[in-house]
């Protein structure tokens, strides 16, 4: 039997991306096109969808060219079905359906978050990890139990990525401000007590943002950034430790844009080592939305013999939770 190839299409938010991955999870191509952020951090759904529709043909063509393949060589198409922005999701789903219909390819709708999770597990070589996603779109602690990926903790308001970026903007650093905040925080010397938002295994960050913002101009910015980071990360690591003792896993996979922060990574390692648990994080480029994560899940569906969906049933679900998704490959 020859090798199988899956085309993955991602379009939940600001990124339109395609990738081709084979059944041994080799990445043959990975092409992305990101909407430039506007004045606000939020994304304009209409402009985003327009962008995606405009770049889709060339992003798709480049993924095929880079892999040296023709569309008929693909064995299946996977697309991100949600959660995300309706108008943006619709572009990816439409492209996927068109290909599946015209070239008679099996079609797999993929949960975007499960894409992050499975890509993290497979690239890190982790069999059964606790996955911590910290990005602009997510801040959640997940693990596999009773047949599904489940959320063991998450932000109850804003994400960790948002917290960093919004604070950065307030001190005049353009999006994405996270990396710069890490740099400034390194020069902080004094810890200022700030609102510590933990609710069980869940985080609450908006009070922290308000508090830190009000200190601007009153305290050296290095100390504010340092205290903001220490507080926000300590909350996350504590929530992770609580989840960890509940599910007793042996590995923690850290992913999402904020995973690049060394302070966070080191804190996570310090916490985990006390439990004899390993921590891994992804290479920077796989922390942001991409087509590979979607293709990888497509491969997993295909290999487990899961039935593809007929084109007319290939919908999008803007608000789908990980718990709603059946996971036949684990």
């Amino acid at each position: 039997m020859g090798r199988k190839y899956v085309l993955g299409i991602e379009s939940t938010a600001h990124t339109f991306a395609t990738a081709i991955v084979d059944d041994e999870l080799n990445i043959l191509s990975d092409v992305r096109d990101v909407v430039k952020p506007g004045e606000t951090l939020g994304i304009d759904p209409k402009l985003t969808a327009e962008h995606h529709a405009n770049v889709a043909p060339q992003v798709l063509k480049k993924a095929l060219d880079d892999a040296g393949m023709d569309i008929i060589d693909i064995d299946a198409v996977a697309y991100s079905m949600g959660p995300g922005l309706g108008p943006a999701l619709r572009i990816g789903a439409t492209v996927a359906r068109a290909i599946a219909y015209k070239f008679k390819k099996p079609l797999y709708p993929v949960h975007h978050g499960i894409g992050h999770i499975e890509l993290t597990s497979s690239l890190l070589g982790f069999k059964d990890p606790l996955v911590v996603i910290v990005s602009g779109g997510h801040t959640s602690i997940l693990s596999f139990s009773l047949g599904r990926w489940r959320t063991y903790g998450e932000t109850l308001d804003i994400t960790l990525g948002n917290l960093m970026d919004m604070f950065a903007r307030k001190i005049g650093i353009p999006f994405p401000g996270g990396p710069k905040i890490e740099e400034i925080a390194r020069k902080g010397r004094k810890y200022i007590e700030m609102p510590y938002g933990i609710k069980g295994n869940n985080m609450v960050y908006s009070g922290l943002l308000t508090y830190a913002t009000q200190l601007i101009g009153k305290e050296p910015v290095e100390n504010i950034a340092y205290s903001l980071q220490e507080t926000a990360f300590t909350v996350l690591v504590e929530a992770t430790e609580r989840a960890l003792t509940q599910v007793s896993k042996k590995e923690i996979g850290l992913t999402g844009g904020v995973a690049s922060n060394d302070r966070l990574y080191n804190m996570m390692c310090d916490m985990a080592s006390e439990h004899g648990v390993k921590v891994g994080r992804l290479e920077k480029k796989y922390n942001s939305d991409n087509g590979v994560q979607i293709a990888v899940v497509g491969i997993l569906y295909m290999k487990s013999g899961y039935a593809p969906v007929p084109v007319e049933e290939a919908v999008i679900k803007q608000r789908i939770r990980v718990e709603e998704v059946e996971v036949p490959w684990r």
Partner: protein, 228 residues
């Protein structure tokens, strides 16, 4: 360096019964009675100042909430001793079984589940009525003594809050736990629980409507953020 003191004395013939995320628990003998010593341990990942603040605050919070609740006749272990400088407290030992494990083992019939859930609903209502939110309501923090009597433990994340929002969050978190850990029993359990809660809590309308709102919101964080 921490000096040798009462803590070491207590621990000398104590037996560790649990190693949680933030604390170690020992069964000890306190003036001849079985008791539990809960010691909040140092965490290397936290900077020193924050580590001390958190341990102190949690020890104090737990001690005062247990004491306040106990004074009102709510089923909690009796507080026996607390040392805020060494971050530990001592409370009455409860003979019983943790609800989480008991449910997972299918120990109870449907009727028994309803009985427990409704006593619990009444208990949480009484707690909220004295403006304490538990902050970590899970079935792992409930011990069932004989005659299906639930006792509430682990008040480290408790807060003094009079606003309906905080109370609604408390209930919502409990709902999440039932949803993820006790999927089969959730409906029966929660129905009995919320009925008793509503009947006993002050300001019930306000809390329940906030609860319903959070339930809706929680699911859509993703979308709300993206619209912002």
């Amino acid at each position: 360096m921490e000096i040798r003191g009462l803590l070491e004395h207590f621990l000398e013939d104590g037996v560790m019964i649990s190693k949680g995320a933030e604390s170690n628990l020992y069964k000890i003998s306190y003036y001849g009675k079985p008791a539990v010593l809960k010691y909040r341990v140092e965490k290397k990942y936290r900077i020193k100042e924050l580590d001390k603040k958190i341990r102190r605050r949690r020890t104090f919070g737990e001690a005062s909430s247990i004491y306040e609740a106990w004074k009102k006749g709510i089923n909690v272990p009796r507080l026996l001793y607390a040392d805020l400088e060494r971050y530990y407290l001592i409370m009455e030992y409860l003979e019983g079984e943790v609800l989480r494990e008991a449910i997972l083992k299918k120990k109870y019939t449907d009727e028994e589940i309803s009985v427990i859930a409704s006593s619990l609903g009444e208990m949480i209502a009484n707690l909220h009525n004295i403006d304490i939110v538990h902050g970590d309501l899970t079935t792992a923090n409930i011990i069932i003594k004989d005659e299906l009597r639930p006792y509430l433990i682990d008040f480290g994340l408790s807060e003094r809050r009079s606003d309906p929002e905080a109370k609604a969050v408390d209930i919502e978190m409990f709902y999440r736990v039932l949803e993820s850990t006790h999927t089969m029993e959730r409906e029966k359990f929660f129905n009995a629980f919320i009925q008793a809660y509503k009947k006993n809590v002050l300001n019930s309308k306000e809390i329940i409507s906030r609860f319903n709102r959070i339930r809706r919101m929680g699911r859509y964080i993703e979308e709300r953020r993206r619209r912002s």
